[in-house]
Symmetry: C2
């Protein structure tokens, strides 16, 4: 009963190498359990000369990716090159030739997925991508298959392991500093806790962050993943540029300490919610209640919480993508491609769902103003908010030392308000001569 | 491109009715998204006369289940009758006829799954059962597909929503009572908190527990589910009788209060763990650390935490099975059956993996002895443990009132020990003339 599937592998980096090793280690067991023999018959890399110690037979590794795609011996193409070009062309070529493709390339799918999925359906072959979104947990399968009979209402995710590790560490240190301050009967100082830069260094030392972490820190990586999830959950045609994206770069220990006092934690949250036929899509730091399931997702882990009509709440969590996790997801896809039916799926063109205009997003807000400690400053801030109908739930002034010398932090929590008014007020306040730094804004969610 | 799949439905109870309603409500959307038209063309029920207000066409509902299976118009059989007989025969008949089957019958699969899966494979048709194990979360798909390329090491689950609701309520009340006692500067009394009987009544009033809750409370329901999970995770051929199964019937508010003091919560935990080629399978109340992800799974929710070689830890949680959840899982399976390839899977015969002998299970233990408050009693208890090499991590005496009058509770926490020795010691101590009630034993896990 054993079928065999000959793989043409594009890219032998972190994930590609892990894939080759995984097949070496578990290939026999996969064949026994799933009746399919998976073997890499061609692998394309930029630098053929570099030995990789992967035990691939002589002649398997070549430089010409297009030749791998076209090689008649190759039955399925695994694309692990990344980027949009030439990956997009290579994937399209494979599909044109009637070869199924497994990819872990979220950017490619976020940018060109629509055309590629249509082509795959037209050719009747599979285009699988579990490894493209949080390789450590099977969120693609969950949305595509398990929720096939259900209707998703909203989705909240922690989609980036690097930032979740950094925020977990900053939260831990804010907790220690807060407990220390409580024990000493004083308020926490803005100098206590862990700042972003050393937390990032820690993450880099542990291999959780890349040398250039900007795509992670800025929320771009999470936004790419959210595109794919929104496509699966709502059939929505979305590109990263459509998503309100804010990163964690401006978070300070003071924000984490404030979250702790509000019985919340700060997460880089990806939100997709369908409300009255409009789609609310965003990636930004958010304060979420400490008791919520996502608050417990710590370190380099990812998680998605889905609300759907029939099932209510479903939560999936797992390791953020590392080479081995992503390779495991790729192999799971290959096993599906090797099943009778070949893993091909129907294609329904994506819909353009109108977005909730940014100004109409509703939330409650944490606002931290950095202002002169002078008479009238507070009155001007509260008046600016009040003119836009934003009502204040709480107000604290922090770091007051010697009157009139250093700037002070004024923290305001608002009741539920519309983003437009809040942004206007913040812009107005930031232009006050008494404002000494850009205002920090963090939304509450859940 | 639309395919159509004509369903013969066996059973129109809670799940069957929910299935018919789900197809009415979402059938068109499922057809649009997945290219398959699902329609119930025959439904077998015991009492045809009873109107169900389900809008099934005249003549669809009949009394003869075998006729439904054999009806040439029926392309797929959905078995929602429950029990082993006649369901087993009906499922086998359908498979013999080359018709795929979707079932939510965990008992049938736990008892006769091996033969039925072999038959399905021989006939090349699908036998799907996502609804049989925790319908509210796609754990079958997760284990079968997402982890197809990985190797599972262990699995910890909260598999029964009824008991989890009860334990959540008892934990909440133990928390309130504990905080009250702390505020008043005294220890908690054994009469405080919520006992099992009223917690069960609450669960019944909310529809979370059946009139006869013995299969839930006794752990039997969780053990049936664990059989199926162990089959998926380890390929192990297991029947419910092979699983060490203890229920929550003997838990008291004092145990929940003790858990709180130990920074733990009590859960009815299902454990499957492969250690050195042997399988440790059990369902019993366990104390787990308050910070562990499973501790946060509250109310009628289910969850499974899986440790695997490549992915590390994966957690899935969702609502415990209700009619709608299970029907949603059944429809997801039907959509798979309707895909090209028909959802048929390879079959690998289950393995008989030797069990870890009960006496060799290792854990640390919470032991609550009910004894006379007399000189020498404590010494005899600790000596009995000591003779078996069980070392004591902590010891508390509770409820001491007037010396010598009422029995007192002695709570002992052990270091890691083997089950055999602990059970021997407990049996010996329970036979002491100074022992006034059966000793309570709760294992620590995680």
């Amino acid at each position: 009963m054993t079928r065999s599937l000959s793989i043409g592998l594009l890219g032998l980096g972190n994930v590609g190498s892990a894939l080759v090793r995984l097949l070496e280690e578990r290939g026999a067991e996969i064949e026994r359990l799933h009746g399919v023999r998976l073997s890499v018959v061609r692998a394309a890399v930029r630098d053929v000369g570099r030995s990789r110690g992967l035990g691939l037979a002589a002649g398997v590794v070549v430089a010409d990716a297009r030749a791998v795609v076209r090689d008649p011996a190759v039955q399925v193409v695994v694309e692990l090159v990344g980027g949009v070009d030439p990956s997009g062309t290579l994937v399209a070529d494979a599909l044109e030739l009637g070869k199924p493709v497994v990819t872990a390339n979220k950017l490619l799918l976020a940018e060109r997925g629509e055309a590629l999925f249509a082509l795959a359906a037209q050719k009747g072959v599979a285009l699988r991508f579990e490894g493209a979104v949080c390789g450590g947990m099977p969120i693609v399968r969950l949305l595509r298959e398990a929720l096939a009979s259900d209707s998703v209402v909203s989705l909240h995710g922690i989609l980036n392991g690097t930032t979740n590790y950094i925020l977990t560490r900053m939260t831990e240190e804010a907790g220690s500093a807060g407990r220390r301050a409580e024990a000493e009967g004083r308020s926490i100082r803005s100098t206590e806790g862990l700042a972003l830069a050393p937390a990032l260094k820690e993450a880099q030392a542990k291999g959780y962050a890349e040398a250039d972490p900007s795509l992670d820190l800025g929320g771009g990586d999470a936004a790419q993943k959210l595109c794919l999830l929104a496509r699966l959950a709502f059939g929505a045609r979305v590109r990263p540029a459509d998503i309100l994206t804010e990163g964690i770069e401006r978070l300070t220990p003071a924000d984490l300490a404030a979250a702790r006092e509000l019985n919340s934690v700060v997460k880089l949250l990806a939100v997709a919610r369908l409300t009255r036929g409009r789609l609310d899509l965003r990636v930004h730091p958010a304060m979420i209640p400490r008791q919520s399931p996502l608050a417990a997702v710590s370190g380099p882990f990812n998680a998605v919480e889905i609300q759907s009509d029939s099932l209510g709440s479903t939560l999936l969590s797992g390791q953020g993508a590392g080479g081995t996790c992503t390779a495991t997801a790729v192999v799971a896809d290959l096993i599906d491609v090797g099943r009778p039916g070949g893993g091909a799926l129907d294609f329904v063109p994506g819909r353009d769902i109108p977005a909730v205009p940014r100004a109409e997003i509703e939330s409650s807000y944490y606002l931290r103003f950095t202002v002169d400690d002078a008479p009238g400053v507070l009155a001007a801030i509260t008046a600016s908010l009040g003119r836009r109908g934003i009502s204040i739930a709480a107000l604290h002034q922090r770091d007051r030392q010697q009157e009139g010398k250093d700037p002070v932090a004024v923290v305001i929590l608002t009741h539920r308000a519309q983003e437009g008014g809040v942004q206007q007020a913040v812009a107005e306040i930031d232009a006050f001569p008494t404002t000494r730094g850009r205002t920090q804004l963090i939304r509450f969610e859940g």
